[in-house]
Every structure is written in structure tokens, then in C-alpha cells.
């Protein structure tokens, strides 16, 4: 049976993978089986770094053939090595799941022996978990680059979600920092999975028989290489639009490894937070990347990307809350997706004023510069004054947190267990 020491090594090695979400799958329990998936995902605990624990995130082995510069488990690193057997993983998953510690398993591995052998053992583990242990909870499996396609597609039939990590936002950086991984070894299997997902949907394949019903995700490290936010977001947008990815995760670079090819300081959590905000604008607010950030540019750190966009387009504001269409409301700073929906519902019955909006949890102090209610306007009149007011507000928000923590940690940066 698994001992605490090996669990420690293999968890420590897995924890820099940001994704821990358990959403997107509607898998049901089978007769005599254990577990089901909850489509919205469920968080089971939260660690002192503010991240959720939803899945048992563990490596099969941390004994790696590859020598990726940024990775604590790279071949040339002098760290304790460990591995576990498929049965040990299955038993641990079942016993954690029964006690409601976890929502399922997130299985990954260092590349040992060969990419094919590694992928084979990962596949064997998830098949065993499904067939021998009758487990119907959530499984997220990491794909191994350079592994044989048929192995990857076989595994995809048994798991809820798969991910190949892009690792770095450009081919050049990938070559420099992860020389054994190629762009093709990451993107081709993603494309293949994406095609299979589309095929299942178009041919109305039964839900139970579908490959990766919760789709695929990826992750890249921010700040270990020189790419601008504009470049990163363009890559992100194409991953969402062309590959149909569910999520792109950003992992702010933390210098855990000393190397002449890597910066000595971390990228900071604020940059990561701004990227997530821009990511949300692309997915849920109808923005395209050209509106948010030019290719060579970084996102402003002092203002969130939606405020920054609105300030550049003051000629479009203020808009009348009682008549503006949903797409316009979504672009008002201080009105979120839920708020915009509430407004469009509520105004069918009554004409809204600022009091109504406050009760509907619209952030008035931000929105007031961009809206009128029944013709009334309470915002500042010049772009300069609005800019100053928004900056001030952002700064007071952050000052509260700075007083408690040593890093400018901004809320929600690693919120991953939710939809």
C-alpha cells in the first residue's frame, strides 16, 4: 500500500498543474458501481494558497527522461524519485472518493522508459479504475506528448477530460526551455481529440460512448519566456475557436528551479489575474482579442481589461440601462454576465433606477460612469476624471489585500474548481 512519503513526493511534483476542475461531465453511476460526475463541478477543500481541491492530483512517476528547464522533476535535477503502481492509484482514489475527500482523479506522469510505455501505463490505470474497480467518478488524464495516437484515443474513451499542456506560449520558447517537446507533439493530439469530440456530437453518439465528455484543457507558463500578453491571448483565442478547448489555464512562473535560461523573479500573480480576466472577456462577454490588447502589448496592470477598453471608447458611453441591448450591457464595467441578464429580465416589468441596480448587485461605483438610468447620469464627466476614479478604486481594493499578504495576490487568481 501507498505510504505517506511517496504520496508526498508525487503530489509535490503534480501540484504546479493548475487545473483541478471537475466540471463538464454528466457521467452517471452504473449498477454495482461507485461514483458519478456533477456537471457544475464540486470543490472538496481549499488549501492555504486559496486554490480548490477537487481531484486527487498525482503523478504516476516523477522519474523523467525529459529535461525541461522550468520543471522541478527534470532529468538533471537532484530530487527524490518515486512511482506508484496502477493498483495503488486505484485503491487510493476509491478510498478517498468513498470518504468524499475528492471528486475524482487527475492523473499525470513524468515520461519514464518511453512516451508510449508511459501512456500505456496511464491508460491501463484508468481502464482498471473504470472496469475492475467500477469507478464512475471524474477522471482527468494528462496526455503524454510523442505517445502513439491509438493509445491516446483509447484512453480518451474512458476519461472525462484530457489535457496536453502547451507549456510555453511560443514555439521558440518551447524549443529553448523544453527541447524534447515539439509544437506538433502537443498540438496534433489536441487536434485529433477535438475532431473526435466534434464527430461524436455531429453523429449523436450516446453520451456514455463519447470520448472526453468534459472536453480538453491546456496550460501555459506565464513569465518564464518573453511573450507579451497580446501574443498569449491570441494563442488562447485560437485554441478556444479552433480546438474548442474548455479552458486555458495560466500559471504564473515561480522560480523553483535555478537556470541561466530562466528569469530569477516570478511573474507575479497580478499579471496572471489580468490574463484570466481577459480570457473571460473573450469567452463570456463577446470581446475579440483585438479589442482587448494589441499583439506586442501587455495588459495594463493598474486597471482590469474591461475598464481599460471602456476608457478607450468613452464615445460609446453612457448607455441607457433601460433600453441598451444585452451585448452592450455586457461591455459596461461593473456589470457582469449575471447582472446584465438580471437587468434585461427586470426591465420587462419596471423601469430601473440606481437603487434597483444596487439591490441587484451591480457595482454602481464603477458602472455609474458608463450608464444612465431613466436619463439620469451620476458619473464623472471627463475621461480623465473617470480614469482617476477607477484607478483609485482599484488601488483601494488592492491595498486591503496588500496589508495582509506579502505578495500582491489578487482574488480569484487560481479559482479553478468552478465552472
Amino acid at each position: 500500500m501507498l505510504d505517506e512519503k511517496r504520496l508526498e513526493i508525487l503530489t509535490e511534483s503534480a501540484k504546479y498543474d493548475v487545473s483541478c476542475s471537475s466540471s463538464g461531465s454528466k457521467r452517471v453511476n452504473s449498477a454495482g458501481g461507485l461514483g458519478n460526475a456533477s456537471v457544475g463541478g464540486i470543490c472538496h477543500s481549499f488549501t492555504p494558497d486559496g486554490r480548490c481541491i477537487s481531484l486527487l492530483k498525482i503523478l504516476m512517476s516523477n522519474d523523467c527522461l525529459y529535461d525541461c528547464e522550468y520543471c522541478p522533476n527534470r532529468r538533471s535535477a537532484d530530487v527524490p524519485r518515486a512511482s506508484v503502481t496502477p493498483d495503488e492509484i486505484c485503491e487510493l482514489t476509491i478510498n478517498f472518493y468513498k470518504r468524499n475527500y475528492i471528486e475524482g482523479l487527475f492523473l499525470s506522469s513524468a515520461v519514464f522508459a518511453s512516451p508510449d510505455r508511459t501512456m500505456e501505463l496511464l491508460t491501463e490505470t484508468v481502464i482498471k479504475l473504470r472496469k475492475v474497480y467500477n469507478f464512475n467518478g471524474y477522471i482527468h488524464l494528462k496526455g503524454i506528448p510523442h505517445a502513439d495516437d491509438t493509445l491516446i484515443m483509447r484512453a480518451a474513451k474512458y476519461v472525462d477530460r484530457m489535457s496536453f499542456n502547451i507549456e510555453l506560449p511560443s514555439e521558440k520558447s518551447l524549443k529553448l526551455l523544453a527541447p524534447q517537446k515539439t509544437k506538433e507533439s502537443l498540438l496534433l493530439p489536441m487536434k485529433k481529440l477535438s475532431d473526435a469530440i466534434i464527430y461524436d456530437k455531429e453523429n449523436k453518439v450516446r453520451y456514455k460512448k463519447r470520448v472526453v465528455p468534459a472536453g480538453q484543457t491546456t496550460q501555459m507558463i506565464i513569465g518564464a519566456s518573453p511573450e507579451s500578453d497580446g501574443q498569449i491571448l491570441r494563442l488562447t483565442e485560437s485554441l478556444y475557436r479552433r480546438m474548442g478547448l474548455k479552458r486555458v489555464y495560466y500559471s504564473s512562473y515561480i522560480p523553483v528551479v535555478k537556470s541561466s535560461k530562466l528569469p530569477t523573479v516570478g511573474a507575479g500573480l497580478l499579471r496572471e489575474h489580468r490574463l484570466y480576466q481577459a480570457d473571460w472577456l473573450i469567452r463570456f462577454y463577446g470581446f475579440n482579442v483585438n479589442e482587448i490588447c494589441d499583439e506586442g502589448e501587455d495588459l495594463p496592470l493598474d486597471l482590469d481589461p474591461k475598464c481599460a477598453w471602456a476608457l478607450r471608447h468613452m464615445e460609446l458611453f453612457p448607455v441607457e440601462v433601460n433600453t441598451a441591448p444585452l451585448e452592450t450591457l455586457l461591455r459596461v464595467p461593473g456589470i457582469g454576465a449575471r447582472g446584465a441578464y438580471r437587468i434585461t429580465e427586470a426591465r420587462k416589468y419596471t423601469s430601473l433606477d440606481f437603487d434597483n441596480l444596487a439591490k441587484m448587485r451591480i457595482v454602481i461605483k464603477r458602472a455609474k460612469h458608463f450608464i444612465t438610468c431613466k436619463g439620469k447620469f451620476y458619473g464623472s464627466d471627463s475621461v480623465k476624471a473617470v480614469n482617476a476614479a477607477l484607478l483609485l478604486e482599484d488601488r483601494t481594493d488592492r491595498a486591503e489585500q496588500l496589508s495582509m499578504f506579502s505578495t500582491p495576490a489578487v482574488a480569484q487568481s487560481a479559482l479553478t474548481g468552478e465552472v
Binding site: 504520496l7 503530489t11 453511476n29 470543490c43
Partner: protein
């Protein structure tokens, strides 16, 4: 002003709605220690299932999800739950249909707020409930929720755990849901004696080790942790004890 005092059950509440419907100046409550001032009258409502059924039928005809919504609201720990549900029902009847989309009406906002707190806690506890394995293989989870959600939580775990027997024990309300692998039974429980299985401590310790290892020390954000996982739930989490 008249206080309609119910026994806390849904049917008694619906009976009170029937009785109080034309009373312009009244409050429905199940709080036993209401302070009654001068000029206030107290009416103790006796459950009348015929009246309750009539109210439910009417409500169901007007808005298919209203009875479910009210059912959720009545589980709240908010002392004003019955009255908020009453105002919500009156609005539905007056409007002649679903009022869910009246997102600026204070009665709808109040109702949705109470509703959201109950379903929110239900969702949180689907994650934060912790089972211990008994020597005979039954899972036992003590907890202490703000709202009365034990039977709803049991439904979630029955679908999830299949043939696995379990007990969910609300230690504050002294009630428990028992599941034998087929059916859920609600029962009153004073205290439970548990004999843990021989592996229970081993897995608890592995879980503690996992919790410790998966945290990234260089990114502390305790405020966010406490925001998502309020301290009042920590008492029953092995990783926090």
C-alpha cells in the same frame, strides 16, 4: 397585527398561507420565541392537509417550480423564511404566473436570496461533508449545517455511492439520514457510537499528507481559502484538525 405560528413543517405553513391569505396585517412564523407586543394577536395554526393541498395545487398551476422553490426556502435558518415565502406566493397569485424574472422586486430578491443561501450551502456541503468508515463498512458523516438540508444531501450521495451504506448525521438538529443501499430513511438521533474500520486512520492521515503537499507555500492566500471554505465548516474536516 396577527402572528400565525406554525410547527415548522411545510404543510402547516401552507395551511397558514390559506388562513392568512386575506389578512392584510399579519406575519407567518415558526419561531417559538416570538415577542408579542400589545395589540398583537397570536394564532397557532393546526395543519389541515386539505387546505395545504389546495394552496399547493393553485401554486403549481400558476408556476410549475414554485412549490419546489418554497420547499427550499422553508429549510432556511432565516427567521423570516416563512414570511418571505408568503410574500413570494402572494406575488405569484397576484401576477398570475411565475415572477422569477421580476429581478427588481424586493419580494423576489428576498425570496431568491433565502433560496440561494440554502442551495448554496447544499452545494458547498456536497464537497465538505466527510465520511468515516465504520468497522462494518458503513460510512458515517457528522456535520452541522446552517440550514435543514440533510435529506437533500442524502439524495446526492445515494445517487453517487450506489450500494454503499451511509449515515449523514446533522448533530445540531439531532436528525440523520440512513441509507441502506436502496432507500433513504430520516430519523431522530441523539448520539451515535462509532467503531472505526482498521484502515480509517491510515486514509485520514494520507489525506492530511496530501492536503499539506498540494499547497503552494510561495503563493499564500488564506483570505481566499476562508472565503470559499468558511471556518465554521472546518470542525468536521480531517485536513483541518
Amino acid at each position: 397585527m396577527t402572528y400565525y405560528l406554525t410547527d415548522g413543517t411545510a404543510d402547516c405553513f401552507y395551511t397558514a398561507v390559506f388562513d392568512a391569505y386575506t389578512d392584510k396585517d399579519c406575519i407567518i412564523t415558526s419561531e417559538k420565541n416570538v415577542q408579542i407586543g400589545l395589540g398583537y394577536e397570536l394564532k397557532e395554526v393546526q395543519t389541515d392537509s386539505e387546505k395545504a393541498e389546495r394552496v399547493k395545487r393553485k401554486l403549481d398551476a400558476l408556476d410549475g417550480s414554485a412549490v419546489d422553490d418554497v420547499n427550499i426556502m422553508l429549510r432556511s435558518c432565516d427567521p423570516l423564511r416563512e414570511n418571505a415565502a408568503f410574500a413570494y406566493i402572494k406575488l405569484i397569485v397576484k401576477h398570475g404566473g411565475s415572477v422569477r424574472s421580476m429581478q427588481a422586486d424586493p419580494r423576489v430578491l428576498e425570496a431568491m436570496d433565502i433560496h440561494g443561501k440554502v442551495t448554496g450551502e447544499l452545494h458547498k456541503l456536497k464537497g465538505f461533508l466527510r465520511f468515516m468508515e465504520n468497522a462494518d463498512g458503513v460510512l458515517y458523516a457528522p456535520y452541522s449545517p446552517d440550514n435543514d438540508i440533510t435529506d437533500l444531501l442524502a439524495l446526492h450521495f445515494a445517487a453517487r455511492l450506489g450500494a454503499q451504506k451511509f449515515v449523514i448525521h446533522d448533530v445540531k438538529r439531532k436528525i440523520a439520514a440512513l441509507y441502506d443501499g436502496e432507500e433513504i430513511v430520516m430519523t431522530r438521533v441523539k448520539n451515535a457510537e462509532i467503531y472505526l474500520s482498521e484502515y480509517e486512520r491510515y486514509f485520514e492521515n494520507l489525506w492530511r499528507q496530501y492536503y499539506k503537499s498540494v499547497n503552494i507555500l510561495s503563493r499564500p492566500h488564506e483570505k481566499q481559502m476562508k472565503g470559499y471554505m468558511p471556518v465554521r465548516y472546518w470542525k468536521f474536516l480531517p485536513e483541518k484538525n
